[in-house]
Symmetry: C2
Subunit: 595 residues, 2 copies
């Protein structure tokens, strides 16, 4: 994609060639039981470690650049703000079992484990909206029977979940992630964005009901202005105003600037201070929110309930299988010029471990963050905005000038993830908890809006819908979507939106715990049903591999083989390649699953 030489020294790490990476873990030339992936226990994990370990030292040595600092600050905000926001929601809806201390503990644990041990340290792991949804739906089910067993029950969900994680990791089943295409990952991103925005609205409604109309309207005002502030700052970042360095700073620290400003604003004495909005509820530092010890007495649960937790553990695994691995895929998408290889099996095993620990100590289960994971890689990427001069014959002078963004290198390391984890541990101490307590929940509603819109506004579904709505004569003739009839494009996004609508609808009911099944079901639907409705040419324009990076496929046992298609799956993604050719790569400011 970029022809420039990366400016970050590669040190003396082993050179990664395409041959080597695709050869080290493959089933291509195997026959008999050796070609059956699930029977080759631990083969994927072994190769993941073998492939990645030689880079460990360079993961530390390569980190000493300014981009690492910018990344730490940006990710601290982008990770913590939604995590706290979800915790506010979860806290209300799980009888105050999960509080800020639990959320911080969980985020810190995940950051420590994954920054130190993961094969993919770029994937930021933390608390997502879906785990919050999952936890309070289980609470809604449990209180029908006996609210007091909720901690132990959740603990067993974690234990079973961990076991299923380990099975999946050992049996190399992450390999099937290579069949994930933008068909399902765009739908997932759209679903997550919808949940974010509706959570933001719920947060504001809760201000009205718990604090009265003055606090409600003030919170709504702050949430809207917070959204607009970040939107404007990131807009300036992608413009051609000011020097690249300065506008980059504005965009890098958009969350920092907006959060500090609007938190301060909410404390201005007078009507603002008097509105008495909800602020982040905190409790004693390092102690659980509830009066309990950190270890949940999981042995105090009757066998009936222990086994009742088993299907829930399976659903957790199913959710994380999709959510965590898609996070890793988007954090290592092809637009980022990555040089270090991936390791899905090993990381999924680690995720089982954090799920186990989280269950035992009674904290929310962390997993890879959609849509924030690619923001981490983005924050570490060295972008260069070049000018493209297009000779033109018509009256506007002799040329047209247009900016084109190139990603020249990524500072691939694990220090930013680790230091961000340390910052979270710092936040767990008393003085910083008090700083947290100054934050109005209105700011979190604003975070929900901006992150949610980041996931929807630039989503492929949205782009295709805009293409269909566009007046025909203004569409560039070279646009690949011109090759597909509008009727077929509409059918495509209708299939995606039905999936989104089903997930959103189920999320509002007690059946919400079943949503991972729906999401996972989109993968076989894409593999088996879609080719019956769309021609190969149409699919090659409309769809793209989510796992499209050479370094990624090396961990998934090579490129996928779709039924009815030849080996040439790389023909997918015409649309994306057209856009990249025209404008360069698109940045991942607020986080978006669409690349």
């Amino acid at each position: 994609m970029s022809s420039a030489t990366p400016s970050i020294p590669d040190g003396d790490s082993p050179p990664l060639t395409r041959e080597k990476s695709s050869m080290s873990y493959t089933y291509d030339n195997l026959t008999g039981w050796k070609s059956v992936r699930v029977l080759r226990i631990g083969r994927g994990m072994f190769h993941d470690v073998k492939r990645r370990l030689p880079y460990y030292w360079s993961d530390i040595r390569d980190a000493w650049t300014y981009r690492t600092i910018a990344s730490i600050i940006r990710m601290y905000f982008v990770n913590m703000l939604p995590a706290i926001a979800y915790t506010l929601d979860m806290n209300r809806r799980t009888g105050q079992f999960y509080g800020i201390n639990e959320a911080l503990f969980s985020s810190a644990l995940a950051a420590m484990v994954f920054s130190l041990l993961a094969a993919q340290p770029l994937t930021i792991v933390g608390i997502t909206g879906l785990i919050s949804l999952f936890n309070y739906t289980i609470y809604d089910i449990i209180i029908i029977y006996n609210p007091s067993i909720y901690p132990q029950f959740m603990c067993w969900v974690g234990i079973w979940g961990a076991i299923f994680h380990w099975i999946v990791a050992l049996c190399n089943m992450c390999d099937y992630m290579r069949y994930v295409t933008d068909f399902s990952s765009e739908a997932f991103g759209f679903y997550v964005g919808t949940i974010y925005i509706s959570k933001g609205i719920e947060e504001l409604i809760s201000e009205f009901t718990s604090r009265g109309p003055t606090a409600g309207y003030m919170s709504t005002m702050i949430a809207i202005l917070y959204f607009l502030t970040i939107w404007a700052l990131e807009g300036i970042g992608s413009s051609t105003i000011w020097r690249p360095g300065f506008r980059g700073l504005l965009a890098d620290y958009a969350y920092v600037i907006a959060t500090i400003f609007w938190v301060g604003f909410s404390h201005i004495p007078g009507p603002l201070k008097a509105a008495d909005v909800t602020r982040v509820p905190i409790s004693k530092a390092f102690y659980p929110t509830q009066p309990r010890s950190w270890v949940v007495p999981f042995w105090d649960l009757s066998a009936k309930w222990v086994f009742a937790a088993l299907p829930f553990g399976f659903l957790i695994m199913l959710l994380f299988y999709y959510d965590h691995n898609v996070s890793s895929l988007t954090a290592q998408a092809r637009q980022f010029p990555l040089k270090k290889p991936a390791g899905f099996h090993w990381d999924f095993f680690l995720l089982g471990c954090t799920t186990f620990i989280s269950g035992v100590v009674g904290i929310p289960f962390p997993n890879g963050l959609v849509p924030q994971a690619p923001v981490h890689t983005d924050s570490l990427t060295v972008y260069e905005t070049d000018v493209r001069v297009i000779p033109s014959e018509e009256g506007e002078g002799a040329e047209i000038r247009r900016p084109i963004v190139n990603a020249t290198a990524v500072v691939e390391q694990r220090v930013s993830h680790f230091v961000m984890g340390l910052a979270i541990i710092g936040t767990m101490t008393g003085p910083l908890l008090i700083v947290l307590h100054t934050m109005p929940s209105a700011v979190f509603a604003g975070v929900f809006f901006i992150v949610g819109w980041g996931s929807i506004g630039s989503n492929g579904i949205m782009n295709k819908a805009l293409h269909v709505l566009q007046e025909d004569r203004f569409i560039q003739r070279a646009e690949p979507l011109m090759k597909v009839r509008n009727r077929k494009i509409l059918l495509w996004i209708a299939c995606q939106l039905i999936g989104v609508a089903a997930c959103v609808a189920i999320s509002e009911t007690i059946a919400a715990i079943g949503f991972p099944v729906l999401i996972i079901a989109l993968i076989p639907f894409r593999v088996w049903i879609i080719p019956k409705w769309f021609s190969q040419d149409e699919i090659s324009v409309l769809d793209d591999m989510t796992a499209d990076n050479e370094a990624v496929l090396s961990s998934l046992g090579g490129a996928p083989r779709f039924p009815g298609e030849g080996r040439e799956v790389r023909e997918h993604g015409l649309e994306r390649r057209y856009s990249e050719q025209k404008r360069g790569v698109s940045r991942q400011r607020a986080g978006s699953i669409h690349r």
Copy 2:
């Protein structure tokens, strides 16, 4: 500008050729006392009527198109909403002397007189923010002495103002408007926009102080959302989404849609209704707000005060000289393919008459609306968005497609202005006054924001500032501003902004009545000082004639002659011509003095 043939039939009106229009009123070949404009009493007015009268029948006959209907609805909202908004402010600050009934009477009077009798029926006349500022500043002065004489004093201000108007009109002094360039009219637009936005903020602050924080925050929320609604709808109107007809509808009726929606929203039972925001205060239909008869007893004022009103009357004339005539200039700017000639002297005489009547009956003096006047012409213009295909050699296919907007014709008539006036008279009746009473003042704050931003966001000062901030390599090489050093551009906009800042500063003090002097002073500043600081080449890029339409100059005695320049003042406006060549004309959605 447009090569297309206008689609509106021209009927059998006398054909207007450039020769004829520039010959009918000129001082070019005259010598002796005959060449002294002020001595040729009534010459301009006579030629205005003689030139325009033959088109009167076609002004009615040409009106029967859909554009006229769209124009009536749009202008009713764009005229009335700010008028009511200013009246809310004026009402509070003039001891409730001016109320809604006075504002409606004034707007209706102006619409009737100017739609039926004006030579320039496109210029919408009504209540502006500056007259509101003027009226309450006089109130601030008068209450120092004797508040009870305010009505009579304002009446005499109107009578003296009218006399000065008639003198100016009879002595052909509107001719000097041809020296107005974008240097001063941009500064004026920026000043007006600043006043609008600060009035919007004052409106919201007044909600906090008079109704408490709940009403205050809710009003702020509605004002922001109202702004965003119109901004988005007008954005869609200028995009290439949907069919041209549909997106045109959204933009045409943006104010209607947003106003109906947000007024309705403020009435939703529950916390919204309970917030009890300020709504438009109304009184008995057709009666003055104060218990008085419509005729102000102007004979009940001591001679001392009658003569004290004289300088204020002069300042009113000075304000209207600039404000009204600039309205007419922008409503008849070159970008509109107008065919019917202008008539500045006659209209200024009429303005004297409405000022006289307004004084006697005790209503605010109406005058030409900046920035709404060009919106009227815009609403009557038939735009065609064409596609321009630019052959390009580089990889993006063989071409680049870009929309280009052409104005093909203007439905020049007086029916839209007249029917809008009838609609205002209708609003004066009891039942419709009650509808008016449902409107929260928050909506008016939103109107202030969107109209104010319309005047600032697209202002030439803003464009030049953005050009300076732009990173050099992304600026198209054909851009005329590239020929001027950034230092000189900054000096230019600094001169403009110092003028704006002086006006804004004075507006906040009791010296506010003097601001017309400052605005008028920008014209000689431009004529005498600016050429000393800027070369002829620089001026030709940075400045442009505001009176640039052939049909307009015919009423102003021909093109101006700047000191130190040849006859070739048409060399001005390189910047605007470059932009038009590239994107076509820019539309006047929310109103802006910058063309």
